[in-house]
């Protein structure tokens, strides 16, 4: 079967043996081959007899079987009195004899029948595993949903989900939040294909809840970040909120709290947009079922916490920092910003470094380093802005936990960048 046309297991089908006579097929093929052409009982009996008889007559020690002389002895040692016992012990002896150094085709083939894994098995499994890993990395392997496994209880999962996050969710609303529109569409279509004219799926998707959650997250992030960064212009606050609301952050939080296995959607694993929507819906459920402070604490602990360790400069990029510094100084009635070289080293080499300071009315505002004077000036202007907005590395960290509970949310907008001046910031109390 294997000689002319090698069938793959899928071609052959599960019930049919794929040809395995030449040992090039998978393990299932070997078992099938064994069933198709079992070793004749007589050959077993003969073999067992010879070994047992040889042992009895003391002319053979196990492991020393070699050469024609030994076989001659076996022929002579055959004795009718030991045939019965030998037939009974034949199987065991066959297995044992496969360990002998002599190559005996009959023995090795019987050994395969009885499941002895000879030296081809390990390399085969290695190759199969290698292929498996490769296909997985290429995305060709289907990933099983966790809910398809036998040990899966959706109710228990939902209970543990709320307990894990230390929140109380409304049960039905939580199920709704975890149901994506694509799942309902797929289920309806599947039932119609099966002949159910009116599927009657009393399920709602999570779009409304997601919209509600999005509003809650946006409002809270604005209030919290304005209070935490009172001197940061409104443009910066908007950029931070946009970052918190971005699909990447939302889906990362969704994955991180274990929504991956719980969400009901068509695709698997869930796409990041589905996951982001689902997480927003979870916040929406919480805003319905829990008081506002509790919902706010949830948003703070899971969404705002993603800002910890991030550089605000990378999230909110000021394109022309020197121009912004000049505008602010102009608004404040101060002198023009004046970049001055503080130190320099290694000019006209590839290791040149310049240290530039920004001064206004001979007052130091900030300094920066760069490999050229232009980059150093830009860095110095950035540093001056960081100092003005109080977002330096040495600024106090974002408040969480008990510290955050006492900070009142700020509803009115921060000063916008166009109107930002040093005088206006004097009345702002920083926390």
């Amino acid at each position: 079967m294997c000689g002319s046309h090698a069938l793959t297991p899928s071609e052959a089908g599960p019930g049919q043996p794929c040809g395995a006579a030449d040992g090039r097929c998978i393990k299932g093929g070997w078992l099938m081959a064994a069933k198709l052409c079992p070793v004749p009982y007589k050959s077993l009996e003969t073999h067992g007899t010879t070994q047992a008889a040889a042992a009895k007559h003391g002319c053979h020690k196990e492991g020393s079987l070699s050469g024609e002389g030994g076989r001659q002895d076996f022929q002579e040692c055959r004795h009718p009195a030991v045939i019965m016992a030998a037939a009974l012990t034949g199987v065991r002896l066959v297995l044992r004899s496969s360990c002998c150094t002599t190559v005996n085709r009959a023995i090795s083939s019987s050994a395969r029948v009885f499941g002895i894994k000879s030296r081809w098995v390990a390399p085969l499994y290695k190759t199969l595993k290698h292929r498996h890993i490769k296909m997985k990395s290429l995305g060709l392997m289907p990933v099983n949903k966790r809910s398809e496994f036998i040990e899966w209880n959706y109710d228990a999962e939902l209970y543990a989900f709320s307990k894990r996050l230390q929140e109380e969710f409304d049960g039905d609303a939580l199920r709704e939040a975890l149901t994506d529109a694509s799942y309902i569409a797929k289920e309806t279509q599947r039932q119609q294909e099966l002949g159910v004219s009116d599927p009657g799926l009393a399920m709602n998707n999570n779009k409304e809840l997601a919209a509600r959650g999005e509003t809650v997250i946006t409002e809270y992030c604005f209030g919290y970040l304005r209070a935490a960064f009172p001197l940061l212009p409104e443009e910066g606050i908007s950029a931070l909120v946009e970052y918190c609301q971005s699909e990447d952050v939302m889906s990362a939080v969704g994955y991180g709290i274990g929504l991956r296995d719980l969400v009901l959607c068509e695709e698997h694993p869930p796409s990041s947009s589905t996951m982001a929507r689902c997480f927003q819906a979870i916040v929406g459920v919480l805003s319905v079922s829990s008081p506002a402070p509790r919902c706010h604490a949830f948003v703070r602990d899971f969404v705002v916490a993603q800002l910890v360790g991030k550089d605000i400069d990378t999230i909110w990029k000021v394109e022309n920092p020197m121009g912004v510094v000049a505008d602010i100084l102009h608004q404040s009635g101060r002198g023009e910003p004046e970049p001055r070289l503080i130190f320099q080293s290694g000019q006209e080499t590839i290791q040149a470094v310049y240290h530039v300071g920004v001064y206004s009315d001979k007052k130091f505002m900030g300094s920066g380093y760069g490999e050229t004077v232009e980059t150093a000036v830009k860095e110095a202007a950035h540093d001056a802005l960081r100092k003005l907005f109080q977002i330096t590395d040495s600024a106090s960290p974002l408040p969480f936990g008990k510290d955050a509970d006492v900070v009142p949310l700020k509803t009115e907008a921060n000063i916008s960048l166009d109107n930002w001046s040093i005088d206006k910031t004097k009345n702002i109390i920083t926390c």
Binding site: R146, I150, E151, W152, N153, A156, E157, Y159, A160, F161, K163, R164, L165, Q166, A252, V253, Y255, G256, I257, G258, R260, A297, R300, D301, F302, V304, A305, Q306, V308, G309, I342, F343, S345, V353, H355, Y369, T392, D393, S394, F400, G401
Partner: protein, 187 residues
Amino acid sequence: MTTKTWNLFWGSNFVRAPLQNGVGRYVQQLQRITFKFCKTHGGSKGMREYIEKELIGFARENPGVVVYVKPRRHRSPCLKAEYLNGGEEYISTHVNTCEDIVKWVEYLRGRSGYPVERLRKYHHTDYPSIQGPWTPWIHRHPGINIKEYPCEELSAVQPTEISATQKLLELYEQQKQQQEGVGSTTS
């Protein structure tokens, strides 16, 4: 095991927490654990004992962990733990006693789900310095910018050790003091 071997197979990493865990609130990272065992086989004796004695208490103390119990005929027992970040851990508990399994479950309960790796340091920060990076001009007086060069004060050699002449002078002074001391005691 040498460091090279360890790095080859296990790698190394800094201390990290998934999803800024603990910044806001702590979320237990173990999300579900499956106890697989045989109802009759001797190898699962400890596991059966654990299920009878300890499992209810474990589930009660950890409501955020979904516990599955899966009997499988004539197969050796094991623990399968799944974590929030997608990490999985398999522990074979063949012929383990109940006490052993208690320890293994405790081990799985406190894990983060990240693979076990050599930690380069036991602490980590995204901000190694809040004062900015080091430069060659840290702690140098900016007054040297407005000096007129060549400057004798800045060009002078700043000796780090005392010279031979100074050392001789010191020795001479010491000797002199000793002699004076001897003279005063004898008189």
